[in-house]
Subunit: 188 residues, 4 copies
Amino acid sequence: MARELDVLVICGSLRKGSYNRAICNTLPELAPEGMRTTLAPSFEPIPIYNADIQATGFPPEVTAYGEAIAAADGVIIVSPEYNYSVPGGLKNLIDWISRLPDQPFKGKPVALQSASASMLGGARMQYHLRQTMVFLNAHVFLTPEVFVGSAGQKVSPDGETIADEGTRKVIATQLAAFMPYAEKIGAK
Amino acid sequence: MARELDVLVICGSLRKGSYNRAICNTLPELAPEGMRTTLAPSFEPIPIYNADIQATGFPPEVTAYGEAIAAADGVIIVSPEYNYSVPGGLKNLIDWISRLPDQPFKGKPVALQSASASMLGGARMQYHLRQTMVFLNAHVFLTPEVFVGSAGQKVSPDGETIADEGTRKVIATQLAAFMPYAEKIGAK
Amino acid sequence: MARELDVLVICGSLRKGSYNRAICNTLPELAPEGMRTTLAPSFEPIPIYNADIQATGFPPEVTAYGEAIAAADGVIIVSPEYNYSVPGGLKNLIDWISRLPDQPFKGKPVALQSASASMLGGARMQYHLRQTMVFLNAHVFLTPEVFVGSAGQKVSPDGETIADEGTRKVIATQLAAFMPYAEKIGAK
Amino acid sequence: MARELDVLVICGSLRKGSYNRAICNTLPELAPEGMRTTLAPSFEPIPIYNADIQATGFPPEVTAYGEAIAAADGVIIVSPEYNYSVPGGLKNLIDWISRLPDQPFKGKPVALQSASASMLGGARMQYHLRQTMVFLNAHVFLTPEVFVGSAGQKVSPDGETIADEGTRKVIATQLAAFMPYAEKIGAK
């Protein structure tokens, strides 16, 4: 019997009521059969990257985070756009992860999703993140891209999940296409 | 008598032996007459941006940082490139600053410089930072751009300053051109 | 009596029914008092850039185009996004212009506008064009940015002009702000 | 017996003495066993893209070019950087190709190489081209990236091929790694 595809979900926002968190919350019900999504821990406790700290040893949160990425069959990053780019906190996580021995993004299939209140839905963030992933040797899924614009109108009344049918459909379509992509590109 | 142009210098690296810090250390002696450069404090103590924290009040370090930017006639950001983009810590600082009332980068003249061990000298970081500055309405100086590649060969033996003559010259040229640019675009 | 600000408008699309052409057609009525907008000729007859052709002399269309840019007080580029970037034809024009002696974009105030059928309204094109303009030393206006998404719903019934009130307002706002910017940054 | 991997090589420069053409000329001798590289025709005769022309039928050069891409197992684009981005002529080719029925870049493995006289070796061009390839659903090879900086010092005395040993090695390394990547990602 085929094993499941284990996908780690990284949320780029720390805000409790975040639209991107609402996407993360909705992924398990939109994932295709055979894909299991698990939310990664918050990157809030990770200190600002400093090579002098690294020289004394990686913070345990970073090591644990890297192990979670390494153990996953794929990663989905769901993030807001801050100032037309990647949130500093998410980038700081990646900066730490990138220094780990056996850098865990190497060869990893990655999908990107973003939500924002604007029409652009976080697109500018995604193209910056794609460039970062070139350096990390991660295979970023191509299309359909998931940009959730005007996100305030797409969440459920309690703000916990994505309610909008069109948005749910494009996310489900991406997840369904990401699965064979991850299996193909991630195969040893 | 004309007053001096006060320029705040933000260093994107926290590492003590950083090549970018060596640039920052060298700016006062390369600045043209009439320009005074002041190093901004470290962004290390600033927490990872979280809108829920902001809702309870800006951290005092952020408020102070914003006031320093607001008071300056111009800003120079000197930063390494991490993972083909802006260091997370520097971006996190900017993410906080961008939420301040009277966002202080608005209308501010900004110059960019970067150093790295690679041939590209941090160029990929600078173009991402330029895009962020569009949102913030900061006027980023154009050319000459300062990309210090193979930076290990350009520092003084103690690593504290930039020794390479060609590098010093391009930095001095940028500073000399930044001064009238800042005066023109920053004029009320 | 103050002279008018002469602004050259470059259309990035050759299609007769282009949404971007509809924007160009609408600019004269949205321009503030004191700004005169003039549509530049089509770049269709300009050959694909080849340094070996340049070595035998610039095509007369390129020389004339460069003179028009040089004579203008500012330039507005209105363009679609092709394949997430700048249309090849528009880029080819710029590639020729960039080789002219006394490169005419140098120091020129430039504003960007784009329309597309998608939600993003051509944003990806604009950030690539901004990067090109860094090399050319052109001063690109910051915000408000003009991204006309879902453009098919914004044009007049005959497709010749922009009818949507919100879109007309944001364009007029940009033009009104571009005028003092161009006067300030373009002043000798 | 295994068939060869057929790779189409697209040169982004039309100049006879182009450094990028020197790379193209050198690829056959650097390709690993089992990879055959074929130079694509010049894009010089292709008109500037115009949807009104397309409506009357694709130019025969475009159709033929698209068929060559479709028939190949992979594509290598070797191009200079013009004005910090993709040359207009190369982009114009891609703009036409992107409109073909059965868009031939879809699912195609693609590798990028660039040469320039500057230190950066065309890097800015490559990241713009990567963004375009997201839209086209082409799988762009990750690392090693090939940026040939200071290219005038890397060519043979007659300018026809790449003579520099370090450059030849990095190109050969990329080609050797591109081969299994193309076989894996391109497998039906």
